[in-house]
Amino acid sequence: MRSLLILLLAVLAACGAPPDTGRGAVLRWGGDAEGGAPFVEADPADPAVVRGFDVEIAGMLAAGLGRTPQFTQVAWASIEQSVARGDFDVGMSGLEDRPELRSRFAVSLPYFEFREVLAVRPADRARFLSLSDLAGRRVGTLGSTQAYQLLLDAQRTHGVVPVSYDDDVHPYTDLVDGRLDAVLLDHVIAERALRRAPGFVIQPSAVARGHYVAVFAQGKEALRDSADAILRARIADGSLERTFRRWGVWDEEQERYLARVLADRTASDGARPAAASRTVRAYLPALARAAAITALISLLAMLLAMTMGAVVAAGRLYGGPLLRGLLLTYVEVVRGTPVLLQLFVLYYGLSGVVRLPAFVAAVLGLGLNYAAYESEVYRAALQAIPRVQLEAARTLGLSEWQVFRLVRGPQALRLALAPMTNDFVALLKDSSLVSVITVVELTKQTAIYATNVGSWVVPGLLCGAIYLAMSLPLSRLARRLEARWHMA
């Protein structure tokens, strides 16, 4: 629900972004207020204003450059793309330093060192100390992050089962609920989650370390160099420390780290040896598996939608007033609310009552949602069958059920075929929404892939081609059926 709100805000912010004027006067920077404190959050006193340590650092950079900071809201996973597009001058929001990032962007000196830490249930405190203790266990994290990459590596080396989330709140609630055995994320995020809702412990030793950086477009090296100089000055005069203290993220390790940064003018810390850059071929199996999941979810959801839809349509045509009223309510409620919200309710909202596996929740959520649409298609189709057809069937001695099954239903099915095909193709694409409940399907896998190779071009083209490869045969089959039935 919160994601939806932020999504809305993001859209509004994007629409309201001012044209490219006054460039000299402002420093345009982009971040994600959904990331929340201590990075960037909407000020509770005035939600139009953002605050957080990244906000303050952006303010320092702007002040040092003699400009006014101007914030643009953008989804965390898209910040780098937006920088590349030129939507703003600099992206900040707990962005992680990675080798691929440095090959495509001008990256600032890493101004904060974070630790990747494991969160586990108190009972497992002594059992799960590192990733190697988690063979065969489900470990959650935010998708498209260094932590996710660590989990993918641990999948190969230790048999850990990575579970990807679109936000950093639900991994911890799922950990407490027992859906996960551990969560691997930045210590800043882990500590914040612990303050919000206890019920787990954070293991003291770091699995890995990483750094937050500010990201500039290629060609903006001069601006980046100015920013680095300003950052150094603010480290030296203690401004950065005060900011980090204010947001509760200052500790001895940070102190030691910043001292090291000042000492080492090259700040080469971020440029650790690159992980072997992944080729298309290496990703094909993962994409194929994700495509299979997309196909399977869509198929099962559509089967459920068709069955339920037929039952609802029949109930609305043949049922008594009470049943008709109930079914109408179902259709209106399901049709009138976002499927994303329904998925959230099914997976997270009901987890106190029934803890559905993500895949089941995905099929149920999409299936029950589309059932509402299918039922309307079928109802309209059933009502379009001329009355005399039903009367003719009755004079032949067919029972009411036989009339439905042998005469009315089959004819309605022919009328419903085109809109049904439409819905199936739409469902195939809507299935990408289930990544919010941790199912890694085609779109999610593509996003992970894109983040990894640092470009959307090849992953995007591949992803589109796979969706088309699934939807085109479907349309073709429908056209052939229609042609065959048309002469009937």
Partner: protein, 255 residues
């Protein structure tokens, strides 16, 4: 009369939208007879047929089909109408063939699903019926591919699939060109000759004269004149019949 009565309608009263359409209709059609029910448009001819095949409920009177009795009031459940449905067949004005089934499948539907006949037997019976009506060569065709005359003959075959003793036809000549009417008349005479009672509604005086044993004229919700076709059509005694005859001379039959 020595022949048995196949369809008996007594004092049939029926209202629609608070308007009394039928005010006591009496008809007695013996097996082997073709009766033409005539009257101007809106006289209630089709309503009589619909009541007799239990598509519409009626307010008063009694309908007996080959021993099966229909009483006034709400229509009985379909399960209680099974026996009646097997005794009476209906051919709708627009044929109402099922467009998703072939001609043969249309004819086989009732035997298989309503009467539980074995599909092989049902198909043999369907083919015999279609052949007897001269449309055996169209048995694989879908209704959309049939001409009006062919569709009508398939619709007759479908209505006869359970071998009913009574056959009702609503305006059978409405969509037929004059050349085809003679053939239809022959078919109907043959069906009556096999011992069935046929009740057809028609506007077509010529057709009624050719095919019908008796003509009943419906006006103001009652049968105002009923007798041998020739008698009624050549020396009508009631003004409604004369009106009907005058109309049919003025204008071509309704197409």
């Amino acid at each position: 009369m020595s022949r048995s009565v196949a369809l008996q309608i007594e004092g049939l009263r029926l209202s629609r939208a608070r308007q009394e359409v039928l005010r006591g209709v009496d008809l007695v059609v013996p097996a082997g007879d073709v009766w033409a029910l005539m009257g101007v448009s809106g006289a209630g001819k089709s309503t009589v047929l619909r009541a007799a095949v239990a598509l519409d409920a009626f307010d008063a009177g009694r309908i007996v089909v080959d021993g099966e009795v229909l009483l006034p009031g709400r229509l009985p459940a379909e399960s209680r109408l099974r026996a009646l449905r097997r005794r009476i067949g209906m051919v709708f004005q627009q044929h109402a063939l099922f467009p998703h089934l072939t001609a043969r499948e249309n004819v086989m539907l009732a035997p298989i699903h309503a009467a539980g006949v074995d599909p092989t037997q049902a198909q043999a019976r369907a083919d015999t019926l279609l052949a007897s009506l001269g449309v055996a060569h169209r048995s694989e065709a879908y209704p959309g591919q049939l001409s009006g005359g062919e569709a009508q003959r398939v619709a007759i075959a479908r209505a006869l699939a359970l071998d009913p003793h009574v056959l009702l036809m609503d305006e059978p000549t409405a969509a037929l060109d004059p050349a085809r009417r003679g053939a239809l008349a022959d078919t109907l005479r043959r069906l009556a000759g096999e011992g069935r009672a046929l009740l057809i509604t028609t506007h077509d005086i010529e057709f009624a004269r050719t095919v019908a044993d008796r003509v009943a004229v419906l006006a103001e919700g009652v049968v105002v004149e009923c007798g041998p076709a020739r008698e009624v059509l050549e020396s009508p005694t009631h003004s409604a019949t004369r009106e009907l005859l005058r109309h049919s001379l003025d204008e071509p039959p309704v197409a």
